[in-house]
């Protein structure tokens, strides 16, 4: 048995290649059913997202080249010439394939390290394979193990902890300052796209009230409606400022829309409760001097960008620790796989021998004449013990070969005793 992974990702292949190789969900299922022939390739799974197309298979050991070849044929289908993508392909076998899947599921292989969407995509790919009937004993175990690794990485490292997009920074800052955004009030000044996205994140994080102020009241009302918020008058901005815990500003104005005087008055009305301002506009719309006022925090686009890039660096540091978790899990997975394999083989082997003994006993039973139940039991026990004693060294050897994942010897055992999986 061998695990093989063949595919391309955003690092190995440009979008022009990835888009040609990508599978739709229906195509995934259909391809899987054809690809898995039960002989060379026994199990299969396809992960196809915008950043990667990967085929994971469980195949007969020692036939790596044949299996990879078969997968490549399926990737090329009829319409993609092989030399168009072959140089972008990576092929991983066994430990290396397991490592790759674990890294993908833990979002260590993602475009932005630590972004969790990929786990959902792997989950979806798995359920497609389950429906297609191409995920069996080995892949089941492998994929579930990958989910476990992803969970460990998420809880034991800070890989997903810090915001890596500017629009999400508002939520992160809000949590740092207010602990929770539940019940807080946000004020949107201007109706830029980025501001809207930030506001949407805020609402998802629990902000209960969104006010929108815009020079043209019509578009303010429209945007406010989409949040279930309220449009407020742009000319009375100073009054609403006091009610806002979070202010996001992105107008096209070329002067300060929120001045230091306005902010000071608002802070006074707020009885010094903290608030923060996010200024996404260029030129800036919020007077940077506000950042010097106690309990008020101002972030302009440059600040946000530098925080985001420092957060990405922080994630990369955490990723190094995640890699260690992945390595230790690979070992655990290999061990569990061995146990998975040796168990049933030994069971079948033992059963076969015991059956032979029982059968022989029954054949000769008539010649033994009258026996008391005790005597009969004693003979049965004797046979069982003899069979166990004789088969013991054989079973130990079998177990050893499994532990060493010595594929050839295991194959030989199977042939010798007619063991099925």
């Amino acid at each position: 048995m061998s695990i093989i992974l063949v595919g391309v990702n955003h690092k190995s292949a440009p979008i022009a290649v990835r888009e040609r190789l990508a599978f739709s969900e229906d195509a995934c299922a259909a391809t899987l059913r054809e690809l898995v022939d039960g002989e060379l390739i026994r199990e299969g799974l396809i992960v196809s997202t915008c950043n990667r197309v990967e085929v994971l298979t469980e195949t007969t050991s020692g036939r790596f080249d044949d299996s990879a070849e078969r997968v490549i044929q399926f990737l090329s289908r009829s319409d993609v010439p092989r030399d168009f993508f072959e140089s972008n392909l990576y092929k991983h076998v066994d430990d290396s394939a397991v490592r790759h899947l674990f890294r993908v599921a833990s979002s260590l292989d993602s475009l932005v390290v630590g972004e969790p969407q990929v786990l959902g995509q792997v989950r979806r790919a798995y359920s497609i394979a389950l429906d297609a009937g191409t995920a069996g004993r080995v892949l089941n175990r492998l994929v579930h193990h990958a989910f476990r690794v992803a969970k460990r990485v998420r809880t034991e490292t800070g890989i997903g902890a810090n915001a890596v997009s500017i629009s999400y920074m508002a939520v992160e800052l809000g949590k740092k300052i207010f602990d929770s955004l539940k019940g807080q009030t946000a004020l949107l000044v201007g109706a830029g796209e980025m501001a809207e996205l930030s506001a949407r994140h805020l609402v998802n994080a629990g902000v209960s009230r969104v006010m929108v102020a815009n020079r043209t009241d019509g578009s303010a009302r429209q945007l406010a409606e989409s949040f279930g918020g309220e449009a407020v008058s742009f000319t009375r901005l100073a009054e609403y400022l006091a009610e806002a815990d979070v202010v996001i500003c992105s107008t096209g104005a070329d002067e300060y829309v929120i001045t230091e005087t306005m902010a000071r008055k608002a802070l006074h009305k707020r009885r010094n409760r903290p608030s923060f301002f996010i200024d996404i506009s260029v030129p800036r719309n919020i007077d940077p001097a506000i950042g010097k006022i106690p309990n008020m925090f101002v972030f302009d686009i440059d600040d946000l960008e530098s925080v985001v890039s420092s957060n990405i660096r922080e994630r990369e540091r955490e990723a190094e620790r995640a890699e260690l978790i992945v390595e230790s899990e690979i070992m655990q997975f290999q061990q569990s796989l061995r146990a998975l394999d040796a168990g049933p083989a030994i069971g079948t082997f033992r059963q076969t021998l015991q059956d032979v003994a029982k059968l022989e006993f029954q054949r000769r039973r008539a010649q033994l004449g009258e026996l008391t139940p005790e005597q009969e039991q004693a003979i049965e026990a004797l046979l069982q013990a003899t069979v166990n004693k004789i088969s013991h060294p054989v079973l130990s050897q079998l177990r050893l070969n499994y532990d060493a994942t010595d594929a050839d010897k295991i194959e030989a055992w199977r042939d010798l005793f007619g063991l099925e999986e």
């Binding site: 300052i177 602990d179 409760r273 903290p274 309990n295 925090f297 925080v307 620790r321």
Partner: protein, 270 residues
């Protein structure tokens, strides 16, 4: 008694190491170990204090050794309350090492029990007075820690440069609440503690105020924290300035606790 205290120290050291590692590595599994170890340490510690009391016949808060051990005990109790109420585990990475240090010093300090100790224990005012004040000190230590955490984070938010510490500390609101409520509790304890002290003093020699250094510092401390609370509640000093006051207040607490001891005076113990 020493062997029991050594076991206490061992438990606290385990708790402290795991809390610090958890703070650095952000591992929750380590926190669990830390909390179990702390719980074990606390139970043993309580037993040790009770045993001390029974053995020497005076309330175990007289000699420096006893005072340090008792102070460590109040710190653990306060930190447990913070954990229960705010889950602010970051505080443990400072509190638990300090607790370990206090217990360690308590173990290596040797003092002969004096007759004076037994004479003090005849009045119930002695245990009440000292216990309340030690808990007040512990509360002010929490105010101090929370204030430092506030200042560190506020500074980084203003500078927009976030270090590793920033990502490991509780939010501004949380540390602010911890500081506010601990200050209120601390001042209440301090007030009652000082009042019982005055009562006791007047019962002994008819004087409410001895004018010794410890009393003067205590009065200053009391004034400062009362101001802090008034300012906080009137909302004029929220955030940074209140946090600075929490730090300054703790300097006074240290003077009250150690300084007065060095300067001598009516108060004989630490």
């Amino acid at each position: 008694m020493r062997s029991l205290l050594l076991a206490v120290l061992a438990a606290y050291v385990v708790a402290a190491i795991h809390a610090v590692l958890a703070f650095i590595n952000k591992r929750r599994a380590l926190l669990r170990v830390s909390e179990y170890a702390m719980a074990v340490g606390f139970v043993l510690h309580t037993t040790a204090l009770i045993a001390d009391w029974a053995l020497y016949g005076h309330y175990p808060l007289f000699h420096l050794r006893e005072t340090l051990s008792f102070l460590a005990w109040t710190l653990v109790a306060s930190y447990s309350l913070i954990l229960y109420r705010y889950q602010a585990r970051a505080l443990g990475s400072v509190t638990l090492p300090l607790v370990s240090l206090l217990v360690f010093v308590a173990i290596v300090t040797r003092e002969e029990p004096s007759a004076e100790a037994a004479s003090m224990s005849t009045t119930w005012l002695f245990p009440v007075h000292t216990t309340l004040l030690l808990f007040a000190y512990a509360a002010f230590f929490v105010v101090f820690l929370a204030s430092i955490m506030y200042l560190l984070q506020e500074r980084e938010l203003k500078l927009k440069k976030f270090s590793g510490i920033y990502h490991r500390l509780p939010s501004l609101t949380t540390v602010n609440e911890i500081a506010t409520s601990s200050a209120a509790i601390g001042v209440t304890l301090l007030t009652v503690g000082i009042a019982t002290g005055m009562l006791w003093s007047s019962a002994r020699n008819g004087r409410v105020w001895q004018n010794d250094p410890k009393e003067v510092f205590a009065a200053l401390t009391w004034t400062l924290y009362i101001l802090l609370i008034l300012y906080r509640s009137s909302a004029r000093w929220r955030g940074r300035r209140a946090a600075w006051m929490g730090v300054a207040g703790f300097a006074l607490v240290l003077c009250t606790f150690f300084g007065a001891r060095l300067m001598g005076g009516y108060h004989v113990f630490g």
